[in-house]
């Protein structure tokens, strides 16, 4: 099967969304992410980056327009189907505070498998999910049983973000969505994190949608998309 025949990973068309029904915080004519593609989304604060990510992950639905994930009409599915699609096909990395404080490192990674049978099955192809979690953590530079049994809160911010990356990657989701994951890191940690994330995405053939206001990172990506702040209406 020719790669080009397969539907793109993600297609957004004519998106409009307003949080409280007052004013659109997002108006995006078109956004496409192909498989294996690394897309950098840049926008000033208030340009609706987080809102866009909520739409893409199916947490909310657009007022107008549609979103297609792996050929499925994400924006027009009922909530539980959207939750299922997110669990199965999307790995999400928050800006910070990614981890549940009451779980250890490995259990935090395994959360992704807990809510998706598909990712549970994918992750246990070469043994158990736990093996896969440990392998991913090793690859992300968090090696050693002692570290992996630690409480998530005992890690440095940089380590926590790498655990979050492992959780996003486990079970081979097609799309990794990262919301300014490096903004809380210093330069060295940022570069190390980005290198590891990009390498693992490439290895798992996952598409990457990376949001940041740090234009210096754009050079690592295939493509950059600019989000502009919505023009203020006269009334507002």
């Amino acid at each position: 099967m020719n790669l080009l025949d397969r539907p793109p990973l993600l297609v957004c068309r004519d998106l409009r969304f307003a949080w409280n029904g007052l004013r659109d915080v997002i108006a995006l004519p078109r956004l496409e992410v192909r498989r294996d593609e690394r897309v950098f989304i840049h926008g000033p604060s208030g340009s609706g980056k987080s809102t866009l990510l909520s739409l893409i992950t199916g947490m909310i639905t657009p007022r107008i327009g549609n979103i297609t994930l792996l050929g499925k009409p994400l924006s027009h599915l009922p909530a539980t189907r959207r939750d299922r699609l997110r669990a199965d096909h999307i790995g999400y990395i928050f800006q910070q505070f990614n981890l549940l404080p009451y779980l250890d490192v490995v259990d935090n990674v395994l959360l992704s498998c807990a809510f998706s049978r598909r990712r549970h099955a994918n992750a246990s192809l070469a043994g158990s999910c736990r093996d896969e979690a440990e392998r991913l953590l090793d690859a992300l530079g968090l090696d050693g049983a002692a570290l992996q049994r630690q409480r998530a809160t005992e890690l440095s911010v940089g380590q926590q973000q790498r655990v979050a990356a492992a959780r996003a990657l486990i079970g081979h989701p097609e799309l990794i969505v990262a919301d300014e994951p490096t903004s809380a890191l210093d330069t060295d940690a940022r570069d190390a994190f980005l290198d590891l994330l990009l390498a693992e995405c490439a290895r798992h053939h996952s598409g990457l949608l990376f949001v940041s206001h740090d234009l210096g990172l754009a050079k690592h990506f295939d493509r950059m998309v600019r989000l502009d702040a919505m023009p203020q209406t006269a009334a507002a």
Binding site: L53, M59, A87, D88, F97, L100, P101, Y102, L111
Partner: protein, 419 residues
């Protein structure tokens, strides 16, 4: 299942707040079940104060009144039953046995009851328990007395103790039957009934101390010594009341009617079980108040749980956003919070029941001795399971509030992390 594990681990993280919440619920459950158990066992102790007796007969008054003075020794009889009426009713063909009761005197605050040795054979309490002697034996001599367990304990009496009976129930010094002292020959085992606080002597003994008395006063210039009294005819002219056992319980109502229609004097026969229930209903208002208070305490306990869950919701928004991001549907957030309420309530109920049994084990001896209430360590009764179930259901209903708030928030927040 995985939600329960998450809820459990999450609560372990907040163990101090959780432990306090569980303790609050446990204490309220302890009170609820404790009050219920005490109430039921007080009722059953009370209802079996007299068992095995078919009828109690006294002068005509009210059933509760007769029961109060004849069995509980509370208040005084308005009039007596003549010895002749007693003899005639005792001779009815349906009657198997009778035990006369003659009241009116006291010893240091305890009632003195004149009766026959049949009392020790016929009186039953609880599930047909007989009176037992801790020491000694029934009275044989005219001036012998048997004392209840409480009398012996309070007054530190041993066998052979000489006691003086006072006239009436005021304990006034000048009214002592000091010329005819009695000797303790028997001490009864504790029963938890009014018998524990009673001094029992023979009918003839009661008669003997009154031979030189009329209308509650010592006859002036008339002194009959204890030894002289022995030679006299000591058949009483009247008694206070008597207990009746029938050959067949089928005859109960017929005999009761015969006594109530007795023409020689106005008498009243009551069924002790029915009268005991009537008496219990009188104290029912207090009982309901107690139950209402314990139910309120459970509500307070659940409010404590709600407070703890609601105040923690804000700091847990991040936790909910993470779970949503890894694909947990919004209803899983609801269920997570609800299962926390369930775990808290179940832990509280289990701890409450454990505390209840621990407490019962500690206090049952004292309660039995002091209050005469037999507390058993029996497994929870159906009513108690029902109460526990009600607490759990109420906890789940209450838990819907934080669960619903978290559910609404996680829908509204999307993936925006609010800190």
């Amino acid at each position: 299942m995985r939600l329960l594990v998450l809820a459990f681990k999450s609560m372990r993280q907040r163990r101090y707040a959780v432990a306090l919440t569980v303790l609050t619920i446990a204490l309220s459950v302890l009170l609820l079940l404790g009050v219920d158990r005490l109430r039921r066992q007080a009722h059953s102790s009370f209802a079996s104060t007299v068992s095995g007796t078919d009828l109690i007969v006294g002068a005509r008054s009210g059933p509760v009144n007769l029961l109060l003075y004849a069995i509980f020794h509370v208040g005084d009889a308005t009039s007596n039953v003549s010895w002749q009426s007693y003899q005639e009713i005792a001779a009815l063909p349906e009657v198997a046995w009778t035990v006369p009761i003659s009241l009116g005197d006291s010893h240091r605050g305890f009632r003195v009851m004149g009766t026959t040795t049949a009392f020790f054979d016929r009186y039953r309490y609880g599930a047909g328990n007989r009176l037992g002697f801790a020491e000694g034996a029934p009275f044989g001599d005219l001036y012998d007395a048997v004392i209840g367990a409480q009398v012996a304990r309070r007054l530190h009496y041993r066998l052979g103790q000489s006691i003086v009976i006072a006239h009436g129930f005021g304990g006034m010094r000048q009214m002592l039957h000091a010329d005819k002292p009695f000797r303790v020959v028997g001490i009864l085992a504790p029963t938890g009934t009014p018998v524990d606080g009673t001094v029992m002597v023979s009918l003839a003994g009661i008669e003997a101390i009154h031979v030189d008395w009329r209308s509650g006063m010592r006859l002036p210039g008339m002194q009959i010594s204890a030894a002289q009294a022995r030679t006299m005819n000591l058949t009483p002219t009247s008694i206070t009341a008597f207990m009746v056992g029938l050959k067949s319980r089928l005859a109960t109502f017929a005999v009761q009617r015969a006594v109530n229609d007795y023409t020689a004097e106005p008498l009243l026969a009551i069924l002790p079980g029915v009268a005991l229930d009537q008496l219990w209903n009188l104290v029912g208002a207090a009982e309901n108040t107690l139950r209402a208070v314990s139910a309120m305490v459970v509500l307070v306990g659940l409010c404590g749980m709600l407070t703890a869950l609601l105040t923690m919701l804000d700091e847990r928004r991040r936790e909910m956003a993470i779970l949503r991001a890894v694909g947990a549907p919004a209803h899983a957030v609801f269920l997570l919070l609800l299962s926390e309420s369930a775990l808290l309530a179940i832990a509280g109920i289990v701890l409450g029941v454990a505390l209840l049994y621990a407490m019962l084990a500690v206090v049952r001896g004292v309660v039995q001795e002091r209050l005469g209430i037999m507390l058993t360590l029996s497994p929870p009764a159906p009513g108690e399971w029902l109460l526990m179930g009600a607490v759990l259901v109420m906890a789940l209903l209450a838990g819907c509030l934080p669960a619903w708030i978290a559910y609404r928030r996680s829908l509204a927040d999307g993936l925006r992390m609010r800190l």
